[in-house]
């Protein structure tokens, strides 16, 4: 393996204009994403949108047709052995030899990974099983694990050797709500240690809770990348505040429209308006002053939170 060095890369992972085709069938057309170091990055998209293909290209399990992949500023070549030491990967349905017990799976892959020497590897395996909640199932063969347990073990294997970047394909799939919460805590703990995580998921609410930034893909193309707030801004063309006044006179309505940064004011209910602002600033003090000026009162003013599901569906529909 050879790799081009780059000093102190800002991104744990950079994918630019990735294309992967299977003969005439395009798996991925144009996917770009960047995972900043020390962050948890969500990778969203409907089934067959190219998430798994992208992750497999990053791991060298599929050979890209064109585009750029950089892991910690270096482009993986050949077996990318050195880079893979810094990356842990959990496939969508992790599969290990059915006869191996949970503990043995970790020891075996730890040895392959040369993660640490014998005694430390045993200790690391014990600790990982504890972290993913499989301590009680350590001596059970993998073939007898439930789907959720298989996912947990897959996460533990990906964490072997404390990689700097974890790439997790649907890590909450098959988990019960407690399991999902456990994984969330686990991943947040990893990020607090400065490690980076890219996770694909269909659990949009989980992505919203866990991830600072998300990349949305559809039909093999990146639709949008940014924070959840950025996505909402992009969807609505700005930030929306819902303001309720004591009374809403027409002159107040007119003046609201002239405020710097306000691009649209829409009446929602009686005395309630939706104010769309193109600048990211707190508009509430200004609205309160305007209300008083027009003999009214600002009763409430809250920033509208667009559900991620709604955003996701809108973005996907937009790009059909």
């Amino acid at each position: 393996m050879s790799a081009q060095s780059s000093a102190s890369p800002e991104f744990a992972l950079e994918v630019k204009n990735l294309m992967k085709s299977y003969g005439a069938y395009p798996g991925v057309w144009d996917v770009s994403l960047t995972v900043e170091q020390g962050t948890l990055h969500g990778f969203l998209g409907p089934n067959g949108s190219g998430k798994t293909t992208t992750m497999k290209c990053v791991m060298g399990l599929l050979h890209k047709t064109s585009g750029l992949i950089k892991v910690f500023g270096e482009e993986p070549h050949g077996d990318a052995r050195e880079l893979k030491k810094r990356v842990g990967y959990m496939p969508e349905s992790p599969s290990f030899p059915a006869y191996l017990k949970g503990r043995e799976v970790l020891i075996t892959y730890g040895r392959i990974r040369a993660a640490s020497d014998g005694a430390r590897l045993r200790e690391e395996s014990r600790s990982l099983l504890q972290q993913v909640g499989l301590a009680d199932a350590a001596e059970k063969p993998f073939g007898k694990y439930s789907r959720g347990m298989q996912t947990r073990l897959g996460i533990a294997v990906a964490m072997l050797g404390k990689p700097d970047l974890l790439i997790l394909d649907e890590p909450t799939e098959g988990l019960d709500p407690v399991g999902v919460a456990d994984v969330r805590n686990l991943l947040e703990g990893l990020v607090s240690e400065g490690r980076s995580v890219l996770l694909s998921s269909h659990q949009l609410s989980e992505v919203k809770q866990m991830c600072g930034k998300v990349t949305v893909v559809n039909k093999g193309r990146t639709v949008i990348e940014g924070s959840v707030e950025d996505l909402a801004k992009r969807l609505h063309g700005g930030i929306v505040y819902r303001a309720e006044f004591d009374s809403l006179a027409p002159d107040l309505m007119d003046e609201l429209k002239t405020v710097d940064g306000v691009s649209e004011v829409t009446s929602v209910e009686e005395d309630v308006v939706a104010v769309l602002i193109s600048k990211d600033y707190d508009v509430r003090p200004l609205l309160a002053r305007l209300a008083v000026k027009h003999g009214s009162l600002l009763l409430s003013c809250e920033r509208e939170e667009t559900p991620l599901e709604e955003l996701f569906i809108s973005l996907v529909k937009e790009n059909k």
Binding site: G60, L62, A80, R81, P91
Partner: protein, 267 residues
């Protein structure tokens, strides 16, 4: 399960060989029967050469190899494996080496069981110093077909597909033997065919022990009839058969690795 079936088949076939001593005029003429002190070699050779030249090593070597790589692809266990910081060459050769050890164990066990059964049934026969060479010959043939199994696994990446290809190869072996006459393999480029040298290896090794500087008189079967007799020195036969083995082993391993390196994991 497959191994149990094979073992049952093996014992069912071995019993008449042991009790009938398996010596016929034709077999003596073909140079594949040894004297009364070597009944056990006859037994080994007969099982090894079951029905058609090279079938036994094809089944053992090919299926054991297919159970290695192709199964990893079938069960998707190849994904976590190739995601680790290891070279694909290490994975490929590591798996081949693991199968090498297994095949060595099979060769040793097969020979010892055959010798034991033969001695128990027909009495002490001697020449047991030949056992390591017989094991070597069996292992060589097993490995040759294991290399083919690895090659097929790298291309097909499916256990069922490899199984189909191996069965196809088996029928190819039968037709090759019937139509071309494999004994001439030592004189013609056909010596490169795995089927020509895998089973023949055992025979040449047996001759080599007793008369390394001697001459083997060979006669094959082609188009259903006995071919013309050919006399070759044991040394040249050994050279040909080992060269064929080495060429096949390396060629299939390298070709298999080429495809394994390019293999994509789509599942």
């Amino acid at each position: 399960m497959g191994l149990i079936l094979l073992a049952s088949f093996y014992f069912a076939y071995l019993v008449p060989i042991i009790f009938g001593k398996s010596i016929t005029e034709e077999r003596t003429l073909l140079g594949i029967s040894f004297g009364s002190g070597l009944w056990w070699v006859n037994a080994v050779y007969d099982v090894f050469d079951l029905f058609a030249s090279g079938l036994f090593p094809l089944l053992i070597g090919g299926f054991i190899a297919a159970d290695s790589l192709a199964t990893e692809f079938d069960e998707n266990t190849i994904v976590p494996l190739l995601s680790q910081p290891v070279k694909r060459s290490e994975v490929y050769l590591g798996k081949f080496f693991a199968k090498f050890l297994l095949l060595l164990a099979v060769a040793v066990l097969f020979t010892l069981v055959t010798v034991g059964l033969s001695q128990a049934s027909l009495g002490a026969q001697g020449n047991l110093g030949m056992i390591p060479l017989v094991v070597f010959a069996e292992l060589g043939a097993f490995l040759e077909f294991a290399a083919i199994g690895f090659f097929l696994s790298s291309i097909a990446r499916s256990g069922m597909m490899v199984l189909g290809l191996l069965i196809g190869l088996f029928f190819g072996v039968i037709w090759t033997v019937l139509l071309l006459g494999f004994q001439f393999g030592i004189q013609e480029p056909m010596f490169l065919l795995p089927v020509a040298n895998a089973a023949f290896l055992l025979q040449v090794v047996a001759y080599y022990v007793f008369q390394p500087w001697g001459v083997m008189v060979l006669q094959g079967v082609a188009l259903g009839a006995l071919t013309q007799q050919v006399a070759v020195t044991v040394i040249s036969a050994m050279e040909y058969v080992l060269a064929g083995l080495a060429v096949n082993l390396v060629a299939f391993l390298v070709a298999g690795y080429y495809f394994f390196r390019k293999a994509e994991v789509k599942g």
